[in-house]
Structures are given as structure tokens and as C-alpha cells.
């Protein structure tokens, strides 16, 4: 039991649990899983953007999505409080060696502290800004993200979701194999 709390969960435990959120959300709330639209709702609720037609919709109806997001953030807070998360994720040794080649030495935690922390260099901040922008713009243009397309959309056997997921991988592979060697 202690192990279950302290150790990371293998894919065959965490994957099916994530999948169960599809029926859970449908049966409890009649909602389809999808997280990227929350960014749009944050804009519509918190920012003066109602003049832009894209944001001029009844955001109250989508409030559930923002509450889900609040819960997700709290889930992170709770886990961090209960478990020590400053451990090294045991990735494949080849991956580790390749990441060492682009200059990483610190593999502790969930994100590389040498790239992304408050005392990092300006170019790395710019990379974070560009990456975040692409995530935001891309999810709206594609009309979904990993949860809405890859998990919910594929579960509904949506053709558009399959196309989007193929796009996710094309983009991810280009970034990892073509752009990373040029950037780092």
C-alpha cells in the first residue's frame, strides 16, 4: 500500500484509470473529456475579450470545465504534499544519453531544471513562451488536445481526432529530431 502511494504507477495501471474518466465524466456530468478548451474559457471569463466573436459565447455553460481544471491543479498540490516528487523519472538509458548530448545533466523532477526554472537564460524563457503559444494556438486550431482528441476523440472513433493525433506526432517528431539538435 505504501508502495502504491510512493512509487510511480506502471502504464497498465495509470492508463486504464485515465480511460475510466471518459465514462465517469459522462455518467456523473454528461460531459466529454477535454482540457484544452479550458484555456478558451479562462479567456472568456477572466479577460476583456468578449468583443472577439470567438469568445462571445455563454461561458457559464462551460464553467464545469474550469472547475475540473481547479481540481486538477489541486490534485497536483495534494500529491506534492503527500509524496516526495523530487525524484528521477526512470526513463530509458538511451533517451538519457541522448538528452545528455544536448547538455542536460540534472534529471531530477518532472521538467529539466537546467532549461526551465526562474533563473534560466533568456533564450530558454523564449522557448517556453514559443512552446506555450504553439500549445494554445494549436489546440484551438486543431479543436482539441491530448485528452480531447487522443483519448476522447479516438474513443469515439472520430476521423478528425485521428488526423489531429497524427498531426501531434508529426509536430512532436519534427521538434525532437529536427529542431532540438538546432536549438540545443
Amino acid at each position: 500500500m505504501i508502495d502504491l502511494i510512493n512509487q510511480p504507477w506502471p502504464w497498465y495501471v495509470s492508463g486504464p484509470l485515465i480511460g475510466l474518466f471518459i465514462p465517469l465524466l459522462l455518467i456523473i456530468g454528461n460531459k466529454q473529456l477535454g482540457l484544452s478548451s479550458s484555456i478558451k474559457h479562462i479567456c472568456a471569463v477572466c479577460l476583456p475579450v468578449k468583443k472577439i466573436p470567438f469568445f462571445n459565447y455563454d461561458s457559464k455553460k462551460e464553467a464545469w470545465n474550469l472547475f475540473l481544471v481547479v481540481g486538477i491543479i489541486l490534485g497536483g498540490v495534494v500529491t506534492n504534499y503527500v509524496v516526495d516528487l523530487n525524484y528521477e523519472v526512470l526513463i530509458n538509458e538511451t533517451t538519457k544519453a541522448e538528452l545528455k548530448q544536448i547538455g542536460l545533466t540534472d534529471f531530477k523532477g518532472f521538467i529539466p531544471s537546467e532549461l526551465y526554472n526562474w533563473s534560466t537564460t533568456l533564450p530558454n524563457i523564449v522557448l517556453m513562451v514559443i512552446g506555450g503559444f504553439l500549445v494554445g494556438f494549436g489546440t484551438r486550431y486543431a479543436n482539441g488536445c491530448t485528452s480531447g482528441h487522443a483519448i476522447m476523440g479516438l474513443s469515439l472513433l472520430n476521423v478528425g481526432s485521428l488526423v489531429a493525433v497524427i498531426g501531434f506526432f508529426i509536430g512532436g517528431l519534427i521538434m525532437t529530431h529536427v529542431l532540438f539538435p538546432l536549438i540545443f
Binding site: W11, S14, G15, P16, I18, L20, I22, L24, L26, N30, S36, I39, K40, C43, V49, I52, A63, F67, L68, V69, V70, G71, I72, I73, G75, G76, T79, V89, T95, F110, Y116, N117, M128, I130, G132, F133, L134, V135, G136, F137, G138, T139, Y141, A142, N143, C145, T146, G148, H149, A150, S155, L156, G160, V163, A164, G167, G171, I174, T176, L179
Partner: protein
């Protein structure tokens, strides 16, 4: 407070995302380098459970807890939008190492630096809202 259930579900979802390590930049790199089955296993088994659940819900006409019929709305198929937007998202996903769900979880687990990609994602969505009509979908 009818939204409380979504906060509760979110907390569970956040905990599972942390324990799955799907929020780790390192795991996303491993996935895009095809050097581990971990992320493929997570996404694949989640979709498997999703497909089975949808089949069961449809076949037995399962209702929500409050007795309403379950609405399943497929997303529209936009050839250019799905693909181009998908590629853009993929580029960002590999760079930041997190998609929207994990961005929120990382913020919760104390990686305050993640507020930077979150804010620029918000800017990205606003810019999309401004140029939407000029884009092919």
C-alpha cells in the same frame, strides 16, 4: 454546489496524471524518440477503456446519474485545421513537454515556472480567436 463533483473528479485526475508520470518532460521525450512503451501504453490503454465504455454506454443505453440520456457529440472533421493545428500543438508539446492537463498539474505540484507557458498558451488562444476567420480549416 453542482460543480463540486467536477473539482473532485479533477483532483483524482490530477493525482493519476502525477503517478503516471505523463506530466514528465522526460517521458514525452522518451515517447517522441520511440524509446519506451510507457506513454504509448498509457494513451493506448486509456483509449481501449474509452472505446469499451462508449460501446457499453450505447449498447445498454446507459443514463447519467440524474437519469438523462448521455450526449455523445463527435468533433467536426476539419482536414486542414485538425492537421495544421495538430502539428503546431505537437511542436509545442515536445518543446514544453506538457499538454494542457499536465501544465495544470505541474503548476499544482509546485513548478511555478510553468505559469510562463500557461500564459503564452492563453495568448496563443487569443491570437487564434483574432485570426480564426482568416485561417483555412
Amino acid at each position: 454546489m453542482k460543480h463540486l463533483k467536477f473539482i473532485a473528479l479533477g483532483i483524482l485526475f490530477g493525482i493519476i496524471l502525477v503517478k503516471s508520470e505523463a506530466i514528465a518532460w522526460f517521458r514525452i521525450q522518451e515517447m517522441f524518440r520511440f524509446q519506451s512503451f510507457h506513454m504509448y501504453g498509457i494513451i493506448g490503454s486509456a483509449v481501449f477503456i474509452g472505446v469499451i465504455s462508449i460501446i457499453i454506454i450505447k449498447k445498454f443505453n446507459i443514463k447519467t446519474l440524474s437519469g438523462d440520456p448521455i450526449k455523445l457529440t463527435p468533433k467536426p472533421f476539419n482536414k486542414i485545421g485538425n492537421l495544421t493545428g495538430g502539428v503546431m500543438f505537437g511542436l509545442g508539446w515536445a518543446l514544453v513537454g506538457a499538454c494542457p492537463g499536465p501544465l495544470y498539474v505541474l503548476l499544482g505540484t509546485g513548478y511555478s515556472i510553468i505559469i510562463i507557458p500557461i500564459i503564452s498558451a492563453i495568448i496563443g488562444v487569443i491570437v487564434y480567436g483574432l485570426v480564426k476567420n482568416k485561417l483555412l480549416h
